[in-house]
Amino acid sequence: MPLSRRQLLTAAGAATAPLALAACGGFSTSGREEGSDASGTITFTTWGTDAELTGLRAAITSFQQANSGVTVRLNAVPYDQMFTTIDAQLQAGQAPDVFRVPYYTFGSYAGRGQLLDLSAHLEGGFSDRFTPQAWAAVQNGGKPYGVPHHTDTSVVLYNVDLLEAAGVTDVPTRIEDAWTWQEFEAVAKRLRQNLPDDKWPFAYNWQGNGVTRWLSWLFEADGRFLADDLTTPAIDSDAGRAAVEFTQGFFRDGLVPPNSSVKSSTLAADLWYSGTTAMNFGGAFLVPDATSTADFEWGVTFPPRNARSAGDFGGNALVATKGAKDPALVARFLTHVTEKQQMEEFCAGASLLPTRADLVEQGIEFAVRPELSPVFVAQAGAVLPRDSGQVASPSMSAIITVLKDQLEEAFVGDQDAATTVRNLADGIGAATKQ
């Protein structure tokens, strides 16, 4: 996989971000923390873009101001090194107190006894601040093992000129009016007729570990890949077959570039930036990049719906390791960074979506292209807790490999939908037994 734009930015961010942002300090904090006098050090390992690290440092500064004597030591590492480092540190008993983790990787740690059960350390009613789908994404065995720090979900970013040239001028602006699968397919086919052979209607962002984003199609068909017990495979269903068959059609009908399959090293966003595709499925985190990179007019709209609207619950949680030196202090830190003001600052600055119910209700204004924020926020609301809960499975790492292998067979090898979902069910069953 080539270094993606985001990874390069991450590496650059780690190297160049300012060391301290005293000027950004002075946030108000919750009453409980106000003026508290504690001592201790929290070690916190993360990766992040410039904007993300700036937001995190601001939250750390305000936490330290509210808790004199407390130091949070931030260790920013490139994304590529993040989890091999964390895994090795956990094995060696030298893990940081807190680290950042994508929701689809969260279960691998929580389900293997590596994280701190926060139940006893969080104040009563703490979960009420989050949306149900966000809170579901940090549960393991019914207990919270982290806090949902932010989310992100994919929408359709489109090249205005290419769509207009194909006569597509009526683009949905409300989630209730999102294209159905059939309408979306019709739009894509119309684009296919109008575009030259070396350009394509769209690309989907399922490359690499982004393969979990394929699950949005399954959820839109109202399907599941795991039953409620999170161990029994549930993908061998009509919804599973419909999702595979529909997405397989993208390749069969030449609606997506042939090199944009799940194992491709070419990222969907790069295809769109270069004008190779007219539409791109991507998250809010792309907005700053797209603003500075794309030399064409672009807009965003909602992804298609089928039985319902749905989306991937992207983004990251903050988790504490089971060996954290001071669990109570760590819990206070996690509480602080998910306070309204801290989360709002972080999400607005980094073009990410909040997990707090009040911020979702109120809406958020991105620092870049604020007028696009409502589309992302509304789309994030289409993620149901039962969808995000499945992605928190402890077996997700192994399930991701199964998804990659079988979807690659379906997309590139033209393996039929029935065989694909059967193999997916077998593979997921084996993965949850490991």
Partner: protein, 287 residues
């Protein structure tokens, strides 16, 4: 006795380093290959279960086939290109210093950077290779979505990367050939091809021998080029043993199974070393 102690004294630093960084990790990997693991904590001893699983795993066999095929193509390919370049650059070619530097330059670049350049060249939508083909009125090639074509890109990028090293070794070998031998062959009536075939090539035997070993070892360990250029796809067409071990160890977090693949690679390498040792003795006898 004193002599033996002195010998062990001299050997001690190497033994200590080898022990710490080679033998202990090797024993650890072998032990890990007998365990079922899930990423964290102690594994469960399962005897040879991982090996049984390995031999029934179609992706493993595909990775093995790809690795062997890659080795069989890249080893003679990079040696032939290296030899050709060395012969050219050993002659009175103008600006040969510049050409030598250009050929050796990829060696100074990391494998990841080389592969990223490969991505720019072989991107099937906007890459340089397809732009050239289209400009010539030829059909574009599915460098990334076609299995065979993707394998070819890995081979081509590797050849570009490895030719400089092969050339360098051959150049040193060529400069070590006694001019009188070539002169004697010329006086005996040998033409340029005969001189090359019957004097130069045999005299380069030690260089070729060294390069075969290096290229085979390198090819069995290929990782970065494949990982960045194709990610092992499409449909495992470019998956090799080390990328498969990496996927199992660091993506699936099944270190036991990844270690099993590692042990298999070790056994293959040992077998090759044994063959090399055998041929080396024969060479000594003949020489």
């Amino acid at each position: 006795m004193t002599e033996a102690l002195t010998a062990y004294g001299f050997l001690a630093p190497s033994l200590l380093l080898l022990g710490t960084f080679v033998f202990v990790p090797l024993a650890g990997a072998a032990a890990l290959s007998l365990q079922r693991t899930n990423g964290f904590g102690d594994g469960v001893w399962v005897g040879f279960d991982n090996y049984v699983r390995l031999f029934g795993d179609p992706v493993f066999w595909r990775a093995t086939l790809n690795t062997v095929l890659f080795t069989l193509v890249v080893t003679p390919g990079s040696m032939a290109l290296g030899l050709g370049a060395a012969v050219l650059l050993n002659s009175v070619l103008p600006a040969r210093g510049l050409f030598r530097s250009v050929l050796v330059l990829p060696m100074a670049v990391s494998g990841v950077a080389t592969a990223l350049v490969g991505v720019l060249v072989f991107d099937e939508n906007s890459g340089f290779a397809n732009s050239v083909l289209r400009a010539l009125g030829l059909p574009a090639v599915s460098w990334q979505s076609g299995g065979t074509a993707a394998f070819v890109t890995v081979v081509l990028v590797t050849l570009w990367w490895r030719t400089g090293f092969n050339m360098l070794i051959y150049l040193a070998g060529l400069q070590g050939i006694n001019r009188e031998l070539l002169e004697a062959a010329t006086l005996d009536g040998a033409g340029p091809w005969q001189r090359f075939r019957h004097v130069v090539v045999p005299m380069l035997g030690p260089s070729s021998f060294f390069l075969v070993v290096m290229n085979v070892v390198y090819s069995f360990q290929v990782f970065d080029i494949v990982f960045v250029l194709t990610g092992g796809g499409p449909r495992n067409a470019t998956t090799v043993l080390v990328t498969y071990a990496y996927d199992n160890g660091f993506v699936v977090r099944d270190q036991g199974y990844a270690a099993t693949i590692g042990v298999f690679l070790l056994v293959v390498s040992l077998a090759f070393t044994w063959l090399r040792w055998r041929s080396s003795r024969t060479r000594d006898l003949v020489g």
